[in-house]
Every structure is written in C-alpha cells, then in structure tokens.
C-alpha cells in the first residue's frame, strides 16, 4: 500500500512539475521573487545568528578526526537513497559503486565512521531525485528559496521532500537510538560544511551588494553544472550585446 502510494505520489509530482516548468532551454524565471526575498532574509538571519556561530564553535571544539567521522557516518547512511536514485536513472555502474561503498564502509569502516572505500578509489557518485527527474525530462521550473533548506527550484525542491520521505531506505529501517544518532550526525555534517565552504558562503551572503540575487545565480549555475544541464547554459556572450 505504501509502495503504491509512493508511486502515485511520484507520478503526480512529475505531472505537476512538468506542467509548471518553462520549456527546456528557457532561463528559469523568478515569479515568486517577493516571497523568495522574504524567505532569503529569514534564512540569512538564521545563518548569522545560529548556523554560522554554531559551526564555528563546533569546528573549534570538536577535533578534526571526530568531525570527519561524524560526517562519514551521516554520508554513509545517505548512500542507500542514492543507490535507489542511481537505479531509477538506470545508472547501474554508479549503483554498484555506491552499494560497494556502503557495504565496505558499514563493515570495515565500522558502521560508516571511517571511509576505507576512498582509500581504494571508490568515491561516491552523488545524486538525488532532482537528477532522476531531470533524466526523465522534467525541467527545473521556477526558482524557489526554501525556508531553512535555502536556494532551490520547483523540481529540485519537491524532489528534496521525495528523497527525505519516500526514497530513503535507511530512514525507513533505522529505529531509535540509531535514527537519532543519524539526525545528530546530519547536523554535524552541515556544521562542518558551513565551515569548509565558509569563505565562499560569507562572500555571497555578506560580501555582495544583493545577496539574494547573487545566491540565486550561484545556485542555478552550479546546479546546472552539476547536472550537466547543457540546454540551460545561459552564460552571457558579451560581444553579442554590443554588436
């Protein structure tokens, strides 16, 4: 029953997203800019008052090897969900790679605290349901800034919830207290990431004249780059403008 419900949810989601999306090749518009700017102000406040200072304290107090193990633990438990997406994309080689990583790191890597796979060149092939939808021909849709989660678009924003609620085997199997450790480790991973990319994030949020517009640009361009979305290559030809 749950399975059938999931398939139905996914199918109707695809239809909704397709119907709302601009045609391939078009630059995503931002019809919700006013709302998005409000959300951006909220998110920026959240970063300034909580995320950024907490990240600094966390990375100052916790020794690096512990930080890495916390992030490894979180990342390892996200692998089954990625394998599901690899399979939905019919990408068997990445599915095999991510599965092998999960098995090796869960055993030899002591429940994922360590990353022996990396030492033998078995690196993760990151993916998500947004990429799966893209493979199915769904365009990115309008730009959205989500509360807490930050910059996104209609396709990838909805896909984020599908990944969390429907396509996460670890989340469905794990029981407390392990599921609680997982939540905590996800938080730790976010705090560590905020520190690693600190200079770039601070640049966009606090060093630019319009942090909303700059973070929208950075998100859209890096997401398209990540998904090799060549149809949306909207880079500027400066010579054409002055011809």
């Amino acid at each position: 029953m749950i399975e059938r419900l999931s398939i139905f949810a996914v199918a109707s989601l695809v239809m909704v997203v397709s119907a709302c999306s601009p045609r391939q090749g078009a630059v995503a518009g931002d019809p919700f800019e006013r709302v998005n700017r409000g959300t951006h102000a909220f998110n920026k406040g959240l970063d300034r008052t909580i995320l950024s200072p907490l990240s600094k304290t966390y990375t100052d107090v916790v020794p690096d090897p512990v930080e890495n193990s916390v992030s490894n633990f979180a990342s390892n438990l996200s692998l089954p969900g990625k394998v599901v997406n690899n399979l939905l994309q019919l990408d068997l080689s990445s599915a095999t790679r991510n599965s092998a990583r999960f098995v090796l790191n869960s055993t030899v890597g002591l429940a994922g605290l360590f990353d022996p796979s990396k030492k033998i060149g078995l690196v993760e092939k990151d993916t998500d349901f947004g990429e799966t939808l893209q493979g199915w021909g769904v365009a990115e849709g309008v730009y959205l800034e989500l509360p807490v989660f930050g910059p996104s678009n209609l396709r990838d924003g909805l896909a984020l919830f599908v990944d969390m609620l429907l396509l996460d085997p670890a989340g469905q199997i794990l029981k407390p207290p392990v599921s609680e450790y997982r939540t905590a480790s996800n938080m730790g991973a976010i705090l560590q990431k905020r520190q690693i990319y600190g200079a770039q994030i601070d640049d966009v949020l606090y060093g630019s004249a319009d942090s909303y517009a700059q973070s929208r640009l950075v998100y859209l361009q890096s997401r398209r780059f990540e998904l090799k979305d060549i149809a949306n290559d909207a880079y500027i030809d400066p010579y054409a403008e002055f011809e």
Partner: protein
C-alpha cells in the same frame, strides 16, 4: 654575396614580423591551438604568481597585470554594467572601465590567493562557435579538484579571455549581478559607482 643578402632580407622580415607581434599583441588567428596556447601562458603566469609566496597585496598587483594582458576587461566591464553602458557618456564609461580594472583584479586576486600551494592544469579545448572554451582543473592540497573554464575570443581584435567559469559559476554573470546591484543602490549614478569601485573588490 647574393646569398648573404638573401639571409639578411629573411632576417629583416622575421624581425619586422616579431616587432609587429610585440606592438600589436597576438596577431595569429584564433583557433583551437592558439586559444589553448593563450590559456597555457595565462595559467603559467597565475601558477607562478600563486607559487611565488608574495603577499596578498603584491599578488593583487600582479593579477592586475595578468588581467590587463590576457582578459578583455573592457568588454567584461561594459557587459557587467548592463543596459546603463548604452546610455553612459564616453567619458563616464572610460572612467568606470578604469575603476573596474582595479576592482576585478583585487576581487579575483583574493580568490586565486586561496589556491596558494596548488596549481591549475589545462586539460582541453572545445570550439563553441563564436569562441573557444579552454578547460582546466585545479590541483589543490587536501581539497577535491575543481573545473575552471576560460572562454577565449578574438572579437575585440585580440585573442583575450572574456569569462572564467569556476565549477559552473561565471565571473561575467556574477559581476553583472553585482555591478547591477551596486548601480541600483546608487540610483543608476555611474560616477558614484566609479568612485566607490575604487575601494570595493
């Protein structure tokens, strides 16, 4: 004797050719090979600068020189200004482009300063119709490599790059957003923007 004459004529031709190269910059037509060569030289200079161990201030000065030599700063600056570039007076535009030169060198000089201890390696070139895209990757200690693409064109009359795309994020697009926002915040006053650019970046 006739032989000697021939040699000296040939030598004179070569020297004149070389001199005109030095005066007029690269006169070779832009193709895949020359585009790659240009970025090879550019990347060589960037690597030498970040490897030199000089202070950030000195590095930024060096970058201003590198930008002046290899980038079409004029078109980058005008494009970043957006529609306002069409209505500005020639004098306003000239002052703005001059201020933009320093601004962009400071900004990206700082960014390349983060590469200290690493280097950039050219990996290939593709023909993109109106321009060439030269791909490179960074080799950094303790961090995953990332992709840098240089877009090169000869439409200014010289072979120069007009955009750097780092992991998909375009310098030209970012500057258009940034300069646009700075100009909006000054109610479209280009003279005020030009004055303020001197301390930004």
């Amino acid at each position: 004797m006739p032989n000697l004459n021939k040699t000296s004529i040939a030598r004179r031709t070569v020297l004149t050719g070389l001199a005109s190269c030095l005066v007029a910059g690269p006169v070779f037509a832009l193709d895949k090979r020359t585009a790659t060569l240009l970025v090879d030289q550019l990347v060589g200079e960037i690597n030498a600068a970040i490897d030199s161990g000089m202070s950030e201030t000195k590095l930024i000065g060096r970058f201003e020189g590198i930008f002046a030599e290899y980038a079409d700063v004029n078109i980058i600056a005008r494009s970043a200004l957006g529609p306002a570039a069409r209505t500005a007076t020639p004098a306003e535009l000239e002052a703005y482009v001059a201020a933009f030169r320093g601004y962009i060198a400071r900004k990206y000089g700082k960014r390349f300063h983060e590469f200290v201890g690493g280097k950039i390696v050219v990996t290939g070139t593709s023909d993109r119709g109106k321009f060439y895209e030269v791909m490179a990757v960074t080799e950094l200690r303790g961090s995953a490599p990332f992709e840098v693409a240089f877009r090169v064109s000869d439409r200014s009359g010289q072979n120069l790059f007009f955009d750097i795309i780092i992991e998909g994020i375009s310098l030209l697009s970012s500057e258009r957003v940034e300069i646009g926002a700075l100009l909006d915040a000054r109610n479209g006053d280009i003279a005020k923007l030009t004055r303020d650019l001197a301390r930004l970046g």
